[in-house]
Assembly symmetry: C2
Homo-oligomer: 398 residues x 2
Amino acid sequence: MRVSGRGLSMPASPIRRLIPYANKAKERGISVYHLNIGDPDVPTPKVILKAIKGFKQKVLSYGPSEGLKELRKAISDYFGDYGIDVEPENVFITTGGSEAIFFVFSAICDPGDEVIIPEPFYTNYNGFANMAGVKIKPLTLSVENGFHLPPKDDIKHLITDKTRAILICSPNNPTGTVYSREEIQSIIDLALEYDLWVLSDEVYREFVFDGRKHTSVLEFREAAERTVVMDSISKRFSCCGARIGFIVTRNRELWSTLLKFGQARLCPPTIEQMGAIAGFKHWKEFMPGIIDEYRLRRDVVFEELENIEGAFTLKPEGAFYTVVKLPVDDAEEFIKWMLTEFNINGKTTMLAPASGFYSTAGTGLDEARIAYVLNQDKLRDAMNILREGLKVYAGNKG
Amino acid sequence: MRVSGRGLSMPASPIRRLIPYANKAKERGISVYHLNIGDPDVPTPKVILKAIKGFKQKVLSYGPSEGLKELRKAISDYFGDYGIDVEPENVFITTGGSEAIFFVFSAICDPGDEVIIPEPFYTNYNGFANMAGVKIKPLTLSVENGFHLPPKDDIKHLITDKTRAILICSPNNPTGTVYSREEIQSIIDLALEYDLWVLSDEVYREFVFDGRKHTSVLEFREAAERTVVMDSISKRFSCCGARIGFIVTRNRELWSTLLKFGQARLCPPTIEQMGAIAGFKHWKEFMPGIIDEYRLRRDVVFEELENIEGAFTLKPEGAFYTVVKLPVDDAEEFIKWMLTEFNINGKTTMLAPASGFYSTAGTGLDEARIAYVLNQDKLRDAMNILREGLKVYAGNKG
């Protein structure tokens, strides 16, 4: 029996595809520091878990396809706290940020249409583009200038008559880069000039360090009909397993189209929406502590990277990732080697190969993504193991 | 800004698209009996809610893309109770039965490929086919013989070189028909003869009445590599809002392809999987009572339908639906009329127009689906209102 062409061409997750090596390491009794996946160890705020466990209804029934009204209102209020005018009618609840990406791709692109995305980018854009038949046109960025955007005239050559949108992510997964207001303004200007949608993944909105301020595409009123935010509570509220995301759009036709996709899958999970409501009502109480913790972790990772000879990255500005250039030819081979051949006192460190975050073949081969999702002591130990591993690996190769 | 062609062609849910009329009726103070949607009022078994509320971990983190191991094992054991050999490795957990349908369509079909489905069928097959670019070839059935399948020689003419699969659903939504072993054998034979997949929606497996026995496609070992079950706990465990479904396949290539789709969306909701585990461990304790209740409701609906002049259906054999021929030209207009113009003591009844369950245009216009998801007293009242409404409607038209 044959599977489909799209099934065959579907990329395996570069974040998850080395998991079998990690599992085998664990079977041998090795403990693995998972810096490969953005699954935070920060406890889910109690107020959220309490709301989930406090579910009172006797029947766990379908909710509205667009999500619970109270949650859409809570998200509207949350944007209000940022001085951004978002009505509950602009909010569409999805099953995780994943579904937000897929629905938006499907709603604005037909098979063969193109979306411009700065690379390296969140690897699952690739997966959903494949599922929706969308072609990603990568705008290749460089670790040397901290993965910031080029001037808009250096982006124009990627625009064709098939281009439907530019997708940005700031603070960025995987690079940790936070775009300035001027960088985002230049994307908005391009979209206005070429009649494109601007899709903005703002999952890490609060995760900005050193006094930086996040800029949302929703702040650009001149582009109100063409900006779309894709978002999720997974990282913000440290509840990746809840599968609650959302889309913000002021474009009514897009919203109605999303509703049709949403009706097909009936509704997002009901109980976790209760948790999300609690999270958006209390986020100002618990978020500052969480951001402080990530900033300290960022400092540990960056400090340790500076001590690794031949490694290079600029200081991450936000999110909880960084892409680092390693002193190896093939980061994926090195990561496999760390899982199969190397350990210190029964412990090893797992990173994600950055090549999977590029869609240009052969790019980023010597880079890896580090997710700093463990506490500072564990991070310090994991980074030490990485440094020692790189030394031994270099010796073996030499 | 333009939305996509696929967005424009996406069908609105025929079950949900009349909801605005119901909402307006409610704003006028009218109470609406919702027989239009399969959202049961049967309490979610306590053992399931207890498992959900008993979530002990501090972080609500990602689970495996293929679902929790313990849940896959529990489902394997559940099939074991039926004497059907399913290994945990054959089970893939999805976010609702909806995702199961979409993943299977995407994994076996490329855009333009065809799937044969007896109609009327579960309307969301249309939505997912549209999203995946799959063409549905309907096999039109008739209320006169209780929507049973024709001999296989009368199905062959629908098979082309684009046909990839035959999809069946038994017990059937929307008709309530339960296919005999012989009917399913004939589908298996066709699939073997023409090298097709057999997709089987077995969400209502336990919902069979009057001593009937459910037949699963998994029982046909000669087709083990080509049979795929799409399933969900929503109806079985009365927890539609949990969004937990699953796929069963013994085909390893298909399973690996599903895993790639699954990795893109990361994982199904974690907490509800705990609930599902409890459900599959205890289903034999609470299911018989639930099925008895639905049988009694079926009896109420069928008895009341026999008292409605000009209405016709055969006695539903399973699930909790029936498609009934009504004495009207256009059931959708009649349903709108019931919501806007008619009530008895401030109450009215809402059905789903059956035309939305057919993909052949102009078919089933005088039919409606009744979901008997309310308790017997309410059902009796709802059916009385329907009968009186039909009388008044006929008078108005005359």
